[in-house]
């Protein structure tokens, strides 16, 4: 029995090492200068820590026509912050209306919402571009923000709806009797207890918007408005770009979701483990 346990631990550790190898190699390579990048010494930590690769990936190299990621990083920041906050708030408002307020038509709204979640987004990419061109938002950051809000609302609404259904309805009824109105109840009762749901929703939205590639590629063909994921692909696609610069670029692109995860991840995990993203 003891040996069995030991074998399991051995397997788990081996698998974890295997799984982490890409991350390790990525980290050490991005901190090396180009002369030090060599297959035989791949495992070694850099002799001298060089941030040269990061500077090149960030600023680019105009002499060789290499576009840096700095502008696209900022594009993604300008995109992800409003899109995350707005889609979370709208989801919270919808979730509140759908669980705590009976109004005419509420019964058909929820199925419509689910339907919105299952619309295959590939099939509407082309008309979506047409609509954005008509309203002059095509190939702009506000256009991308718009798209991400619209496609984020169903999932954010669903999470808030699940969360708000745990708030006792008596609380709302009591507030109504005390004369609180619709907006008042939302502001003073519902919103203050919503923080755990906001944490899950905002982390979810932040990472999925930051990580998106297809919408960025399709809605923002102009390099100066592209989000960082699309720019990273362009950077890595150039043949003359050295591996250490590519790795630094990948790390820069992955950094914001990593930071969010490191600082807020446990709220997200708690939400995930309690099933707020897996149950309807």
């Amino acid at each position: 029995m003891k040996i069995g346990r030991l074998l399991i631990y051995f397997f788990l550790i081996l698998f974890a090492i295997f799984y982490l190898t890409p991350i390790y190699v990525l980290l050490v390579t991005s901190l090396k200068s180009f002369v030090e990048v060599d297959l035989k010494t791949m495992w070694r930590l850099p002799k001298t820590i060089s941030i040269e690769s990061f500077i090149q990936a960030w600023k680019g190299d105009p002499k060789r026509g290499l576009r840096g990621l700095s502008q696209n990083f900022m594009n993604s920041v300008y995109l992800v912050i409003p899109a995350t906050i707005l889609s979370a708030f709208l989801g919270s408002m919808n979730g509140y209306v759908l669980t705590k307020w009976r109004f005419k038509g509420a019964d058909i709204i929820f199925p419509m919402l689910l339907f919105g979640m299952f619309i295959p987004y590939q099939s509407i990419l082309i008309p979506l571009v047409q609509v954005l061109q008509k309203i002059k938002l095509y190939s702009t950051i506000p256009g991308l923000i718009f798209v991400h809000i619209v496609y984020g609302i169903p999932i954010t609404t669903l999470i808030f709806r699940n969360y708000y259904s745990t708030i006792p309805s008596e609380l709302i009824e009591a507030a109504k009797i005390d004369g609180a109105d619709f907006v008042g109840i939302y502001r003073r009762i519902v919103l203050p207890v919503s923080m755990p749901a906001f944490a899950v929703v905002m982390i979810w939205q932040f990472t999925s918007i930051w990580n998106d590639f297809l919408f960025g590629l399709v809605v923002a063909p102009n390099p100066s408005v592209q989000p960082i994921t699309v720019a990273l692909n362009n950077l890595a696609g150039s043949y003359f770009v050295q591996w250490n610069i590519q790795m630094a670029g990948a790390l820069i692109t992955a950094l914001p979701p990593l930071i969010v995860y490191i600082f807020l991840g446990r709220y997200f995990m708690r939400g995930l483990l309690s099933g707020s993203l897996s149950g309807v």
Binding site: P22, L39, S123, A236
Partner: protein, 297 residues
Amino acid sequence: MKNTKASKIENIVGYIFLSPWLFGLIFFGLGPLLFSIFLAFAEWDLIVPPKFIGLGNFINLFQDDMFWKSFRNTLIFSFSVPIGTFLSLLLAYLMNRPKGIFSFLRSIYFLPSITPAVANTVVWVWLLHPTVGVVNFLLKKLFLINGPNWLGDPNWIIPSLIIISVWGGLGYDIVLFTAGLQAIDPQIYEAAEIDGANKWDVFFKITLPLISPTTFFVIVTSFIWSFQVFDISYIATNGRPDEHSLTIVYYLFQNAFQYFKIGKASAISWVLTAVILLVTYIEFKLEKKYVFYGEGE
């Protein structure tokens, strides 16, 4: 409602709360959706106005060799679903402790799930490089195997995409499975132990049926994602896929945004939707047979 005036106001305020979403749904969801159904039956190059051609796009598509190849590649790619589900369930089961080292390991496994697929793939393109990549270097050093030319070999390109995809999605599924496993009442295990059940019995007769709703959720969502694969194939082929690496959504993207065959692209998107719906429907049929939702009280 006792007070009709108050309830009227409630209705109005309710709709005001919902209006941003309703607006978005109509102009960016339903509207484009209807338009795209129309386009699937039309010919359009974005210059000359769309012309209705009936089933032309679909007939054209089913006779198109490249479409079937992209379909076949996507089907092979979807083997990432059983592989990923099996591995994540295995790991979640072996690491099924709420706290301590295993909780730490779970958060490590989760890392690639939150970093962009684009960044993950850029790293893997390098790892899988035939001459300067770590994977082939290790295969040679540890097992004396000459590794294949992964992304450059017609037979290995899709398996390479499967590796990249499983690596990126494993952590998320592990967390979902862990949630399912932790929800099982420990008393059931104790009762089984008293009855003299061995480890395998416990796993197959208790654990597996009790987490089947989670397994079902993981399989359904993973299949949908795997049929929509695009990012990793785009980056791994550097935007130049061939008949061995083209996927359905990639072919859709090419037709829509590179060849400007809008009608054909819309037809592809609806065939894809139909395939996804069909697979999901079959899964829900199987659910009735294999998924266990408790006895109900």
